[in-house]
Amino acid sequence: MSEVINEQDKTDATHHEGEHDGHSHASTLFYTGVAIALAIVTYIEWAMLDWDLGKWTKPGLIILSVGKFAAVVAYFMHLKFDAEIFKRTFLGVLGLAVVIVFVVMAALGSLPDDNPETGRLHASIRNCQDHSDCGPTQRCRPIPAPKTAAALRKAKGLGERPVFSKCVEVPKEVRDAEGKDKPAREGGEIYAAVCVACHQKDGGGMLGPTVLGANLASAELWAQGDGALRNSIVNGKQGKIGVMPAQAGILSSEEIDNVLAYIKTTYAPK
């Protein structure tokens, strides 16, 4: 390939004289090499989203893109071997255009910014963590995995949390329904931490030498009424064999309400 370039250098002089002799172009082989290199770099750009390069991904992509840009301008557009005036005209204005793009973006405050306080890209567009990141009529919702193999694999690597989420407008009925579910949802977390050891995941309870976890699905239990059940949770209860420990002082009143809401919606016979 270097031979080709040397050959170009020789013909360069004739270009400066304004002569277009038709033999100043590099060989087909050389251009094929450039084309293959461009294709490989494009493939790398696509594939590198899948590599764990973290914050170096963006600079890497931009460097590769600039390289491709330069290769097409220098070789395909022949600027490297062409008259000086073309280089000055094109590269001069190109440089000016790049500066103007940055000036306009800086003036409008739209340059990328990693600071979550000021980085509008982060704050307003993507990756809300929960509803508190969103407006009063919005909810944070996961975005279906982007349609790229790379992003899908990345999503798997990050576990259950979706890679991308966003704030979406949600109708009032849906928000109200979510509000109703809230105590039961929070109660479920408490149940999983506090109650599950005796009452079990299915609420069926546990019979043991010293402990009896009541069967939360039994009709008898629910026949007592919500008030009596709440009382059992707050003050504890002496069972036939085991003891239900009092939760007063361990769980707040609201948390006890939530647990009751959870076991009622989950285990109570319908």
Binding site: E45, K58, L61, S65, F76, K147, A150
Partner: protein, 204 residues
């Protein structure tokens, strides 16, 4: 500049006082102004995209990177075919010039096909010129690029048709070269758009 006098009189190859063909200088100047044009569209896109005053889909929900990467390969390949056409024209090989011009136009059409498919998909998913700032700035930017590709296809096909009339002789090699400059420019604009509009959107 002394070589100037040895050339046959031809409006295309006639040098300016700068010692270069007028038509090439004209086109390099035009392409430079195009840098400003696309630069302003890119700045507009990046300034407007985050301003979500209306609910509209996000770029990451819309973009299909696998598809766009394939269409990028197609446009790069068309640039390579254009180089072959320019080379053939410089060698005075009318038959090959004709072949490569048609092949370049064909690949350009495939690229436009991909873009038409992409735009149709986006519209179906609710991203339109009116859906919000992302939609309007995205379609303006990529739409103008697609428009440039279409102009290039018409130019290539015109040269291809003219080649049958004997108009595209060896003395018109510069015409093919200038068409090539335009086509490669359209390619480099896409190289920039593909990276900073599409790929960077998916980067952490």
């Amino acid at each position: 500049m002394s070589a100037h006098g040895d050339l046959p009189i031809n409006h295309q190859t006639e040098g300016t006082s700068l010692g270069v063909p007028t038509i090439k200088l004209t086109w390099w100047t035009f392409l430079s102004s195009e840098c400003m044009f696309f630069g302003s569209l890119l700045a507009t896109y990046f300034s407007l995209k985050p301003n979500r005053v209306t609910p509209e889909p996000l770029p990451i929900e819309m973009f299909d990177l696998d598809l766009t990467t394939i269409s990028t390969f197609v446009l790069l390949a068309s640039s390579f075919l254009m180089v072959l056409a320019v080379n053939a024209a410089a060698d005075g090989n009318a038959k090959k010039t004709r072949l490569w011009l048609l092949a370049t136009a064909f690949f350009g059409c495939i690229f436009i096909g991909f873009q038409a498919y992409e735009f149709t998909e986006f519209y179906a998913k609710g991203l339109t010129l009116e859906s919000g700032t992302f939609g309007s700035s995205f379609f303006t930017l990529t739409g103008f690029h697609g428009f440039h590709v279409c102009i290039g296809i018409v130019w290539l096909l015109a040269l291809w048709v003219l080649s049958f009339t004997g108009w595209l002789g060896p003395e018109r090699a510069l015409t093919v070269e200038v068409c090539g400059l335009y086509w490669h420019f359209v390619d480099i604009v896409w190289i920039v758009i593909f990276t900073i509009v599409y790929l960077v959107e998916f980067a952490p």
